[in-house]
């Protein structure tokens, strides 16, 4: 297993990535010095509240947005050093599934045209093999062949997301960035889509970078999880470890906010994650300090660094300490 910052044998390595959106006097640091690595076949979850920069991060990882600083190494090659043509060729290996299955499919293109497009762009195979590939991926995402002649508006949300997955899958990529793939879908459809993604991971040996704001999805789907807060990773650990032993007060608050599976079970009500909204990053050395119930003097004085408190478990908090015993 690769370690959170660094790691050498990884498929994807994000190295000190930052993205600043300039503004008049109030520039926004959407992504602030983020590093992590994914090894092949792994599912890495990235969770955080709305506006914490996770979608910006996803787009930087795919070089859809140019970051302000940092590197993204795919197979050891930095995406931002590649000339345009090579970058476009590399896109064959890395695909994205979008959050909104309604706006991410071109409404004027039939399903056939939509699924053929990636194959045409990368000039894969002959005309006949392309058609065969389109039918193959369509079957793999569980849609009938009659769908080929239809337009996106003729499908339900869940079916559209299947189309989005089929399009991402057509080129048989190695990495798929899934940007909240189920948060726009009905609860009843979510499990189907996630199961589909899991089946495809086994079939293709896919590596997933899953962006989510919902910890329950991450828990059943990811091998490792990183929690983002205002552009920074505040905690990252293997999934079981993180859920059993959350060390950052923000993660702890997020976990407390998950409703129990049994509605009759008495629930310890807790406030929102921390003490409410603040004016955004930049004012406190520790971003979470204004919302942190534990904040002390040091949190207002020094920025906390990521520390590996337990094996593979990194935390950005002055006050967090490794517990002596963890109850699994």
């Amino acid at each position: 297993m690769s370690r959170a910052p660094g790691g050498s044998s990884s498929l994807l390595q994000v190295d000190r990535l930052s993205k600043r959106y300039p503004g008049r006097g109030n520039a926004i640091l959407a992504v602030d010095d983020v590093s992590f690595a994914l090894s092949a076949g792994e599912t890495f979850g990235l969770v955080g509240e709305s506006g914490c920069g996770k979608s910006t991060l996803a787009r930087c990882v795919l070089n859809l947005i140019r970051p302000t600083a940092g590197r993204v190494l795919f197979d050891g090659r930095n995406l931002f050093d590649l000339p345009g043509g090579e970058m476009r060729a590399l896109r064959r290996e890395m695909q994205i599934i979008f959050q909104d299955p309604y706006s991410s499919l071109d409404p004027r293109m039939t399903v056939r045209a939509t699924l053929l497009e990636p194959l045409e762009i990368h000039r894969v195979g002959s005309h006949a093999t392309r058609e065969a590939r389109v039918q193959e991926v369509l079957a793999q995402v569980g849609l009938p062949e009659s769908a080929l002649r239809k337009y996106p508006h003729e499908f339900s949300g869940g079916q559209r997301q299947r189309l989005g997955i089929a399009r991402a899958l057509a080129l048989a990529p190695r990495l798929i960035v899934a940007d909240e793939p189920v948060s726009a879908l009905d609860l009843s459809i979510r499990a189907q889509i996630l199961n589909l993604m899991q089946d495809l991971q086994e079939a293709y040996g896919l590596t997933y970078l899953l962006i989510a704001h919902d910890l329950t999805i991450v828990r059943h789907f990811c091998h490792r999880v990183a929690v983002m807060f205002q552009g920074q990773i505040v905690e990252s650990a293997p999934t079981d470890e993180l859920f059993a032993c959350p060390l950052h007060p923000y993660t702890q608050a997020l976990l407390r906010a998950i409703p129990p599976p049994d509605p009759d079970q008495p629930r310890k009500r807790s406030g929102p994650a921390g003490r409410g909204e603040t004016d955004g990053p930049g004012e406190w050395p520790c971003r979470f300090a204004p919302r942190c119930p534990l904040a002390e003097e040091i949190c207002r004085r020094e920025a906390p660094a990521l520390r590996e408190l337990r094996p593979e478990h990194w935390v950005r908090c002055h006050l967090a300490e490794a517990p002596l015993i963890v109850l699994q």
Binding site: A89, E117, I121, H153, G157, G158, I189
Partner: protein, 287 residues
Amino acid sequence: MAAQLFSGPMTSRARQPRGAAWLAARPLLATGLLLLCVVVGAAVFAPWLAPHSPLTQARGDAPLPPSTHFPLGTDSLGRDLLSRLLFGARYSLAIGGCATLVALAIGLLVGLPAGYFGGMVDGALMRLVDVVMAFPSILLAVALAAVLPYRNLGTVLLVIGLVNWTTVARVVRGETLALREQAFVEAARALGAGPGRVLLRHIAPHLAPTLLTVASLSAGTAILLDAGLSYLGMGLPQPTPSWGDMLREAQRWYRAAPWLAVWPGVAVLITVGGLNMIAFDLQRRRR
């Protein structure tokens, strides 16, 4: 299978009135199309409808007032006004249509990259548009027409297209700017599509409804501009029966033979009015 429950096609846009009922619900479009049909009919069937050749001159006095032999009278050279109007429809429509195609082509060529790439490209291209727009269109058309070595249908519609493209470029740029942010455009980029493919396959097709509106307006402007050019003597050379040239001719006779000015004016009004009605209706329907 919860997904199967929702598999039927969405029916929200299925119940739309068709044919006559659909047109009746859009009176402006219906009127515009009717007027345009009259002009197109006149242009197509001119050889059969026209009582005389548009070029033969009647002997004797000219211009003659309306009579049974010359339903709308004759012009100062003794040519039948009705026949000239009918044949003139051909020139006006050809100029309106072709000049608009020229304007659309240039407008797309400038507007698409300006909107898609933004930044320096956008700045440079839009300053060019500003420069062209700074001139009154008729003045620019006259200047361009004066520079060209000879004058025929081709050069006239080229001149009009070269004057008319700025509106198209601006509208296309604006729409492209909005479309660029659409998720399906980002999806195409994520697949590895280059700017050419994104613009042609994912942005241009979505411009069609807008372009239809702009085209109808632009065709009207082109016909007016042609009439203006002919009026100033910079249009098609004699003896081409063009409406603008007929108006210029009528100016000298406006007291003795006012019918000479009225009918070409009505013809221009019907054509441009019809096109504008279509354009307004289309514009209103676009959300």
